[in-house]
């Protein structure tokens, strides 16, 4: 019978829902439900999520149950004659007020959690998070440490259209970065979130923080992480072509190890970037999931602690002239992190919005124009003032000597002069 089918579908869906509910409740995996997370608030948020979910399941069971019963029994093919009732003030009042009371029951704990989430007072430290098209910058306020965090080189290579690389072979595909944000556990960390160009949103599910990064305005939020580990997130607000390719990685360390890490970073971004650049190679073996509670808390500190030690001697002096080869070598990595999203690894761009750099007027022309456009931006191209003189000199030298271009070297001093 036709309605037998509808009933079965209804029953099937209810069963599926119930099965989901049971699975979600047992929380054996992070693959289909909100993560419980690693802060007190993320646990409260998860609890609220499950509470409301169960209330919805209960209401759904009653409503769909009555509806299904009616569909099965009150049908003409069974000879059921229509009743003629069509209103009842009592019933209407009942089913207006009952949901109202249930809603109050939901609203009270929700408001309590929200009030705690918005209380950014008495923080132990502050990190300024700035969104760029398409990367993040982290600045440890008062510590003189800041650095950029971009999609890891491996993911970046694999995600190009027609790259031929199977994403399954790339560890933490699209959720891995060159320089993760390193934070201490057990400290109330305040985040000041802003942006340089368009609106982004900084989201790490495991710490239940999502805040819009708005150019010209600063948002506040906070987290106090309980468990050391690696927690992965993404930009959650459409921010242009590479919105999907600016992930976030937070590494939470025990305080002592965090302090050790911080001490090694001091001395400015020139040192910080290469120091942290060694991280991905040691980190990649970790968890496959964005919502990775499984990044073994014990293993994480070891990796991070090891990295800066290995890389620290590589810190170059910023201001002196460098050889062409040195500049090109550094420039290639700066290019991959900052330019290749639009102008492509091949330098051919995606005309007309993202022009080709191969034989382009600006690349072949006077260096000063090239520097100025890079610093100040033009049209859709955002300004890159935030890069160091060395980085800009290197990337311009790389552009001017790649893909058949051959238009000389740009030294950091020239960039400094043009600022």
């Amino acid at each position: 019978m036709k309605m037998g089918r509808l009933a079965r579908i209804a029953a099937g869906t209810s069963l599926a829902l119930a099965a989901f509910a049971v699975q979600a409740y047992t929380e054996t995996s992070g693959g289909y439900n909100l993560p419980t997370g690693v802060t007190d608030l993320s646990k409260e948020v998860h609890g609220l999520h499950m509470l409301i979910f169960w209330i919805c399941v209960a209401i759904g069971a009653v409503v769909f149950g009555v509806m299904t019963y009616s569909i099965i029994h009150h049908r003409r093919s069974k000879g059921h004659k229509p009743a003629d009732f069509h209103e009842s003030t009592t019933v209407e009042i009942l089913w207006t007020s009952a949901p109202f009371i249930i809603l109050i029951g939901m609203a009270i704990p929700a408001a309590g959690t929200l009030i705690k989430m918005e209380d950014t007072r008495n923080s132990d430290m502050t990190v300024k998070v700035t969104g760029y098209q398409w990367k993040w910058e982290y600045e440890y306020l008062g510590e003189d440490v800041k650095f950029f965090s971009t999609l890891s080189a491996e993911s970046n290579k694999a995600r190009q259209l027609g790259s031929g690389i199977d994403p399954n072979t790339v560890p933490n595909y699209l959720v891995d970065v060159d320089n993760p944000l390193v934070l201490p556990v057990g400290k109330k960390v305040r985040f000041l979130v802003t942006a340089n160009d368009v609106i982004h949103a900084w989201w790490v599910p495991e710490i239940a923080v999502k805040k819009d990064a708005i150019p010209g305005y600063i948002n506040e939020t906070w987290a106090k992480i309980n468990t050391p580990g690696t927690y992965r997130g993404v930009c959650a607000e459409l921010c242009g072509r590479d919105h999907g390719f600016m992930p976030i990685v937070v590494k939470a360390l025990p305080e002592a190890e965090y302090k050790e890490w911080l001490a090694k970073q001091k001395g400015g971004d020139a040192a910080a970037a290469p120091a942290a650049a060694a991280l991905p190679a040691t980190v990649v073996a970790a968890a496959p999931a964005v919502t990775a509670t499984d990044a073994a808390p014990a293993a994480a500190p070891v990796e991070v602690a090891a990295a800066p030690a290995a890389a620290a001697p590589a810190a170059p002096a910023a201001a002196k002239d460098l050889s062409k080869d040195e500049l090109i070598k550094k420039g290639e990595s700066v290019y991959t992190a900052n330019c290749s999203a639009c102008h492509q690894a091949t330098g051919k761009g995606l005309p007309p919005n993202f022009p080709s750099l191969v034989g382009s007027k600006i690349v072949k022309g006077a260096a000063i124009e090239h520097i100025k456009q890079t610093l100040n931006g033009k049209g859709m191209m955002p300004p890159f003032k935030h890069l160091s003189d060395l980085d800009i000199a290197a990337v311009l030298t790389y552009q001017r000597n790649s893909w058949g271009n051959s238009s000389g070297v740009v030294q950091p001093a020239a960039v400094a002069a043009a600022r």
Binding site: L48, H74, S77, D84, V91, T96, I115, K210
Partner: protein
């Protein structure tokens, strides 16, 4: 009766001078509500097709992780255009088309109050959408900043930008003219005896929809005009550097946008409230409370807009207010669902295709309502916001919600429009395949979103692949089976497969309402003389309506 004869003469006279023209000029020049209703519906289904193709590009790219088919920039153009085309080109014109066809027949008047405005309102739309869709072929491509057009991102749009803004303006003008026309008609041209609280629910929901449209479309026009001047005339409404605020755009946009989502769903409530009583053979339960519930939802829609932007950084008091106000919407929405279920209770149900779609609407719209309630909880919304959980939520209320109601309405009334019955077997096949595929498309997206997949991305981390494979298979399946519907309906229009006219006036035995007192197909002009209305026709289940027969026009 002399009066009656006179009316008949007038009618013959009309036919001679105001009947449909032949050929293409009939459609270009028409001021007839039925012709314009047909045009609106053809436009809507064309746009559903185009927007559907765009969604297939999206789903094809998301089938597997990695970029296989399109550049991320083109992907963003597809998500942006899919939304604009489906909302402004698909659902809204479909509702105006159904209002054009049914409102005059339901309230017993001869046409809409402003027939020439009606023609103009329709013919703006093909130009608006040519302009919008044409940007895909421009240098630099179509807008890619999302249908919500948030600055500063939208200001990075290239040559397509002014075309986007003017297309939105034209759609807005069309919607406003349509809304004014429907509201004026309903308030002024009801047949004697049709008091407000006797109007069919579809008329009521459309009256309230019309008010929402008139209230918020100008707000959208203002917002996009400010975008235009920010880009070309050096103003800084939405730029912090010039003293403006990008978040202000979001507040203005969603002050339009939230009532807009009820514009998309309220007429669906009306259709479902019409179809369920017909096939349950039982009067709608709680008519008055249904009207009050719709009015309450409409009122609340004006004071909940900021729940679309909880992560934007509002004061705590603001977040609490918008959370509580949003949760309140569950009350009138619950009342509506309970009333529909009570209407079915102890009825004598049969399950023709329109009823199947209406029942699926109640079932699946309620699931969308549940996820909506979850989204209202601000601290948890921080986690859901801008993930596939939200995508699943709004597609549940828009596709098995609004679109299923449109399909139900077309199945329900096409015998009246064409005088030919659709093929019931194919109708049922269409329903069951649609119901399966739509759930396959959107149910897994809840899981993907909860597990951490953000919206509006062309590529994703590999652990989301299962959900995306299911979703893509569902989307292609849903798209393909809609051709069953298209062929079934065109067969009614053109009499394919030997479909004969000759249906009774009251096509469905449980149907009531004035549209079932006129012949099938409905003549080009109906109710040139106002009908005399018995309450019986509007509310009770009908055998006594033969009394009305002499008012039928032939």
């Amino acid at each position: 009766m002399a009066h009656h004869d006179h009316a008949h003469d007038d009618h013959a006279h009309d036919h001679e001078h105001h009947g449909p023209e032949k050929g293409i000029m009939r459609w270009i020049k028409t001021t007839n509500h039925k012709d314009l209703g047909t045009l609106y519906l053809f436009l809507a289904f064309t746009m559903f097709f185009i927007g559907g193709l765009m969604s297939l590009v999206i789903r094809a790219e998301l089938f597997h992780p990695g970029l296989q088919f399109v550049d991320p920039e083109f992907f963003n153009q597809m998500t942006t255009m899919h939304a604009l085309v489906m909302i402004f080109g698909g659902v809204m014109p479909a509702w105006v088309g159904l209002a054009n066809w049914m409102v005059p027949m339901m309230i017993g008047c001869s046409d809409l109050a402003l027939p020439r405005v009606n023609n103009w309102g329709f013919w703006i739309l093909p130009f608006a959408f040519s302009m919008l869709i044409g940007t895909l072929f421009m240098e630099g491509g179509a807008p890619a900043g999302g249908w919500t057009m948030y600055p500063p991102l939208v200001l990075q749009t290239g040559n397509a930008f002014p075309f986007l803004i003017f297309a939105v303006h034209l759609m807005g003008i069309s919607s406003i003219t349509g809304a004014i026309n429907v509201a004026v008609t309903i308030l002024n041209m009801r047949a004697p005896g049709m008091s407000l609280l006797k109007m069919p629910l579809f008329v009521w929901t459309w009256l309230i929809t019309a008010y929402l449209l008139i209230a918020v479309m100008p707000v959208l026009a203002g917002a996009v005009t400010m975008l235009l001047t920010d880009k070309y005339f050096l103003t800084s409404f939405f730029s912090g550097a010039g003293g403006g605020d990008p978040v202000m755009f979001q507040h203005i946009f969603w002050f339009f946008g939230h009532p807009e989502v009820y514009i998309l769903i309220l007429p669906a409530f009306g259709i479902v409230s019409t179809i369920i009583p017909t096939f349950a053979r039982k009067q709608l339960f709680g008519y008055d409370s249904m009207v009050y519930a719709v009015a309450s939802i409409a009122f609340l829609s004006f004071i909940v807009w900021a729940h679309h932007m909880f992560t934007v950084g509002m004061p705590l008091a603001g977040e609490l207010f918008f959370m509580f106000a949003t949760m309140l919407i569950a009350v009138p929405t619950g009342v509506k669902v309970f009333n529909w279920v009570a209407t079915m209770w102890k009825g004598s149900m049969t399950f023709e295709t329109p009823m199947l779609f209406a029942l699926a609407f109640v079932f699946l719209f309620t699931i969308g309502g549940f996820s909506g309630l979850m989204l209202a909880i601000t601290p948890v919304d921080f986690q859901y916001h801008d993930t596939y959980f939200v995508v699943a939520h709004f597609h549940y209320v828009l596709v098995p919600g609004a679109v299923f109601a449109i399909l139900a309405g077309v199945y329900y009334w096409i015998p009246k429009w064409t005088g030919r019955m659709y093929n019931e077997t194919w109708g049922k096949i269409h329903f069951w395949t649609s119901a399966v595929f739509i759930n396959l498309t959107f149910f897994p997206q809840h899981f993907a979103g909860l597990a951490g997949m953000q919206r509006r991305v062309p590529d994703y981390a590999v652990q989301f692949v299962d959900w995306n494979v299911q979703s893509t298979v569902g989307a292609f399946g849903f798209f393909i089976v809609q051709f069953i519907f298209i062929i079934n309906m065109l067969a009614c229009c053109y009499g394919w497969f030997g479909r004969k006219q000759g249906l009774p006036d009251r096509v469905w035995d449980g149907a009531h309402g004035l549209e079932w007192t006129v012949p099938s197909p409905a003549p080009y002009h109906t109710f040139e003389e106002p009908p005399v209305i018995s309450d019986n026709e509007l509310t009770a289940v009908h055998d006594a309506v033969d009394a009305l027969d002499h008012h039928k026009l032939s």
